[in-house]
Amino acid sequence: MRSGRDPCAFSRMDLFTRKKVQPTEPILIPHGELTFLTKQEILMAHKIFSELQDRENGPYSSRVSMEKIHTLPELKSNPFRKRICHVFSTSDMKDGSLSFEDFLDLLSAFSDSATLEIKSHYAFRIFDFDDDGTLDARDLEKLVNSLTGETDDTRLTGEEMRQLISNILEESDIDKDGTVNLSEFQHVISRSPDFVSSFKIVL
């Protein structure tokens, strides 16, 4: 009987026994309680993730390297793909490789129903290139450079860049300490009309 089992067991949905995934591999599927994904989305994510794993050398190694993740069409042309992997990676090596749980975290944050709060939090961390908890002028410069693309003709000139960054700081740096911190960032983002609709990745 189900009632005899650990009361917490329902969180480890054994959805995949049906799909004949390797039974030796304990796949924890943290369901709706932990992510914003639906069952189908999680299944889909797992399918995609295991495909990525298959191409790896070792069979079913628990992590997928950043390069493999970047072959996904959804991330291929994203200028922040490296940052995204680094932010969501829990790897000790800091190589941006993702485990399945990290992958789910990623998809959850970018899903349709994720809240503005969580989206803005991850957006902040993605934009925080040096991981120091604030967006300073160098972060902003890198951010603008990734937004304007790699080619020279789209890149802003030094003068424009200075102007732009000083404008950004003037607007968002409310406490005038020269950097944008998380709360300031969220404050700015929360007023933006189209952040939630554009901060999305759908598999």
Partner: protein, 927 residues
């Protein structure tokens, strides 16, 4: 309440327990309500019956141990049925006697509370006792009742699994049993229960109860919001496991599962539908592509063009469906009456292409023009009132256009009012402009380009706003520029006047003797002026040195004045022509009587009653029909306008681009970056062209029902041709500016044009009598008489009377006054609201700043305290070990200089966007 009801009825068939629970909630909250509709009462009685059955079943076994009760649940369920019948009767009595019921339900509530406190207390005492575990559920239910409501609100946030539902089912059953147990006890035997409960009540203070509740709530909230926390999955799992004991308390969430799954489906459907809708928007991809290459201002032209297309589609639907098709299908066929036949003298050339191209010949005597329509009151088997329909469609076209334009303006104003938070312009551009959905490298390139463009736009705009120059010189230059522009306008006005006068002279002498140029002189001159004057204005405007956006508006205003002057000169010329035609008509009328008299006298001298059947309708003399003439003029104008637009497009843009591209290899200077270069897309000129084109449609549509159709065709072709031209032979503008600011400017111009173009149309309709032998209103003294006629003959007598009463000045004037008053009132209230809004905004901002200061102070204080404590600890340690003195202070100073972590947490809660955060944070801290 409705939500509960909904769920209850949904789950009625499947799970009785669920319905039970909800009925109970319903009862509790409705206890005070006395009045209920009979149907509702009936349904409730049914449910109550169900409840009471259960209650009765529980009644017997109150003393029995809970554990045993769980096992024997099924058995009891059967035996209870019989007693349920008795209870049902009692229940009915209860419903009948409402006062009693109220009292009873009040008691119920009290009893439930007592019961809960009792169980809570026990729970407090023996929390780890497994045997008493089941009692807990009563308390849980109370919590989850609260919890439930919040859950359902955001049920789409909370996916639940089917398996969970299955597993939790038995527990739910027992839970609702225990619930109903307490219910039934209190219901059937209130007195005894009262006595029982009073004894337990005293032992637990309300504070303790509150605390307990809070603790459970907190834990639940944490789990509920866990996915809303930016933690990695591992951490979440750990927390989940640590608090998974709580999970079983959430059993009632299952109820929301049913609701949830529907909700999910509905959401998915909605999402799909949204996608479908965006896929249905025509030319969306084209416009997006252009936007990414040329910035938002060029795209705004195409969006405007699309919007125009939509309006014309509706106008076309109206005229085509209600005027042209009925006349073509049900009206008399071609050749039956004079107005529907080509006259004998024109017959020979009626099919020539040149004549048709000029909309003469067969085109003139067709459904395309006013003159073709018959004045027969009702046509066909539908008894379709064509003249009335014609008139109403004419009025409706104008009315609809007004409505749409004004509504769009209001919406634009709204958007501007809502989005006036331009304080974050740059930050938004930086932080939110990337579209993470982009998965196509080409689109990504476009996006890069468009983001760069928007950055440059913003920077230049910012620089422009800061620029400060020699004022006197610029003033002088501006005055000079305006003088030059005025000269241009006057010159063009005189030119048109001259040309129109000349053309009238030609017309008097007979057009046939002149060539193509003389015949089309007016149109050509107007088109040429419209082509070259804007260029001139552009050159002049470089003198002025305005901010580009202001310059754009000046430019637009000037072109507007030019076009308007041209149009009105044209209209005045038309009015003259109308007068001429009417004079001609008088002569024809006189001749007609003579002709008829001759006809009767000559052919049928003896028998005057027989109709002159021998005369072919083509031979009957007829009036000049000025309405058709007006319609024709407008159609010709539109055609020539369209032609000039396309020809300039092909010559000015395409040929130029081709020449520049291919001659560049064998030329002595760089053509691409030197003199001719590629052309830029002229947004303002194109928008104005579109607006004036539309004005002509509005003006002429009454006399030529084919105009909307023609315009639709033109816009459709324009869309593709201009999209292609922009993409292949134009270069992005050097100075690109957002068009959103000028969007309402365009709309305002459109409104002015609409007003100005309806003026002459209404004037002609109201004050000039229609021609006697053509058009749907022939034979009437004024066109609007058709309304009068309809009122008299198609409506009952009293309606006409009411109408005549309603339309007398004594009623109309006060009504107008009332309208004016209403407008004034609304205007003043909207002003007040605006002011209040601004004040609120200010208040919020000041509050924000205050909070921030406070938080900063608090953070500093805390850091100081920490430092002091450390120092104290340090001195203690150094006194004992008197070495290593440098390292700890460094770390402590580090904390004072950089307290972002703590500040970030606390201050974020006080930002207006996140009022909830501090609580959550404190919860997580406490945990």
């Amino acid at each position: 309440m409705p939500r509960h009801k909904l769920i209850a009825s949904e789950s009625d068939g499947k799970d009785n327990e669920f319905s039970l629970y909800y009925v109970e909630v319903e009862e509790n909250s409705q206890g005070g309500q006395e009045k209920q509709t009979t149907r509702d009462g009936k349904r409730r009685r049914e449910r109550n019956g169900e409840v009471s059955r259960r209650r009765a079943s529980e009644k017997r076994t109150t003393e029995v141990d809970n554990k045993r009760a769980k096992k024997k649940h099924e058995k009891r369920h059967k035996t209870a049925r019989k007693e349920g019948e008795k209870h049902e009767k009692r229940q009915r009595r209860k419903n009948a006697d409402e006062e009693e019921a109220e009292e009873e339900s009040n008691k119920d509530k009290k009893n439930i509370k007592n019961e809960r406190t009792k169980t809570l207390k026990r729970d407090d005492e023996k929390e780890k006792d497994v045997k008493k575990k089941r009692k807990k559920h009563v308390k849980n239910e109370e919590d989850s009742a609260n919890f439930e409501k919040t859950k359902q609100k955001d049920c789409h946030d909370m996916p639940l699994k089917e398996k969970k539902k299955k597993r939790k089912k038995p527990e739910t059953t027992s839970e609702s049993e225990s619930k109903s147990e307490s219910e039934s006890e209190s219901d059937s035997a209130p007195e005894s229960k009262d006595n029982q409960a009073v004894g337990v009540l005293g032992s637990l203070t309300p504070e303790e109860l509150e605390k307990l509740k809070e603790a459970v709530d907190e834990r639940k909230k944490l789990i509920a919001t866990m996915r809303g926390k930016p933690w990695p999955m591992k951490k979440k799992l750990v927390v989940l496991r640590s608090s998974c004991v709580l999970q079983r308390q959430e059993t009632l969430l299952i109820i929301s599962f049913l609701y949830y799954s529907n909700c999910q489906k509905w959401m998915k459907f909605q999402r799909d539908f949204e996608n479908f809708k965006t896929a249905c928007i025509p030319w969306e991809m084209k416009i997006k592509e252009i936007e990414s290459h040329f910035g938002s201002s060029v795209a705004s032209y195409f969006i405007f063009l699309r919007w125009m297309y939509g309006i014309n589609m509706i106008l076309f639907g109206l005229t085509f469906g209600l005027v042209m098709v009925p006349e073509a299908l049900m009206g008399k066929p071609y050749g039956s009456i004079p107005r529907k036949t080509v006259p004998r003298e024109e017959e020979a050339s009626a099919m020539n292409f040149a004549v048709l191209w000029d909309f003469g010949g067969y085109a003139k005597y067709s459904v395309l023009f006013y003159g073709y329509y018959n004045s027969q009151r009702a046509i066909g088997w539908l008894k379709f009132r064509l003249p009335l329909s014609y008139f109403l469609v004419g009025v409706g076209t104008v009315a609809y256009s007004y409505m749409v334009v004004i509504r769009t303006m209001a919406r634009n104003a709204n958007e501007e009012g809502g989005g006036d938070d331009t304080s974050f312009n740059f930050s938004w551009k930086t932080f939110t402009s990337w579209d993470y959905l982009i998965g196509n490298p080409e689109t990504a390139d476009n996006k890069f380009a468009s983001i760069t463009t928007s950055f440059k736009e913003a920077i230049v705009e910012e620089q422009e706003s800061r620029k400060d120059d020699n004022i006197h010189l610029t003033r002088f230059l501006r005055v000079l520029a305006n003088f030059l522009v005025l000269c241009c306008l006057a010159g063009s006005g005189y030119l048109i006047y001259f040309v129109v006068r000349r053309s009238q002279k030609f017309a008097l002498l007979g057009l046939e003797s002149y060539g193509w140029w003389e015949r089309n002189e007016v149109n050509m001159v107007m088109s040429l002026l419209g082509m070259f004057c804007p260029m001139l204005f552009d050159v002049i405007s470089t003198l002025e040195n305005y901010h580009p956006r202001v310059a754009l508006q000046w430019q637009l205003g000037r072109i507007f004045a030019l076009f308007l002057g041209n149009l009105y000169t044209f209209i005045i010329a038309l009015m003259d022509a109308i007068q001429l035609k009417r004079a001609e008509e008088e002569i024809v009328k006189k001749n007609m009587t003579i002709w008829q008299a001759n006809l009767y006298n000559g052919t049928v001298p003896d028998n005057s009653t027989a109709p002159p059947t021998t005369v072919h309708p083509a031979d009957i003399p007829r009036g000049p029909c000025w309405e058709t003439m007006v319609g024709q003029e407008f159609v010709r104008l539109i055609i020539s306008d369209t032609m000039t637009t396309y020809i300039t497009l092909i010559i000015g843009d395409f040929l130029r681009a081709v020449l520049v591209r291919f001659l560049n290899n064998c030329w002595c200077w760089d053509l691409e970056y030197g003199f001719p270069s590629y052309s830029e897309f002229d947004v303002s000129g194109n928008v104005l062209g579109l607006i004036f084109n539309q004005g002509m449609i509005w003006m002429g549509a009454f006399y030529a029902p084919c105009l909307p159709a023609l315009n639709l065709l033109r816009l459709h072709v324009s869309m593709y041709l201009q999209c292609w031209a922009v993409m292949c032979c134009n270069v992005p503008q050097e100075r690109v500016f957002k068009a959103s600011g000028s969007n309402n400017f365009y709309m305002a111009m459109l409104l002015v044009i609409l007003f100005l173009s309806t003026l002459p149309a209404i004037y002609t309709i109201v004050s000039i009598p229609p021609s006697f032998d053509c058009g749907p209103f022939s034979g009437k003294t004024r066109m609007f008489d058709v309304i009068q006629e309809t009122l008299e003959s198609d409506f009952p007598a009293w309606f006409g009377k009411v109408f005549s009463y309603a339309s007398n000045p004594g009623l109309v004037l006060p009504f107008l006054l009332l309208l004016v008053l209403a407008i004034y009132y609304l205007q003043s209230t909207s002003k007040t609201y605006k002011r209040v809004n601004m004040e609120l905004k200010k208040k919020l901002q000041t509050q924000n700043e205050e909070n921030k200061k406070k938080n900063k102070l608090a953070a500093l204080k805390a850091a100081n305290e920490l430092e002091q404590a450390r120092k104290a600890g340090e001195t203690r340690s150094s006194s004992s070990q008197h070495t290593q003195n440098s390292e700890p202070p460094v770390s402590s100073t580090h904390t004072t200089t950089r307290p972002p972590a703590s500040r970030g947490h606390t201050s974020s809660g006080h930002l207006p966007g996140h009022p909830q955060q501090p609580q959550k944070n404190s919860h997580s801290n406490r945990r």
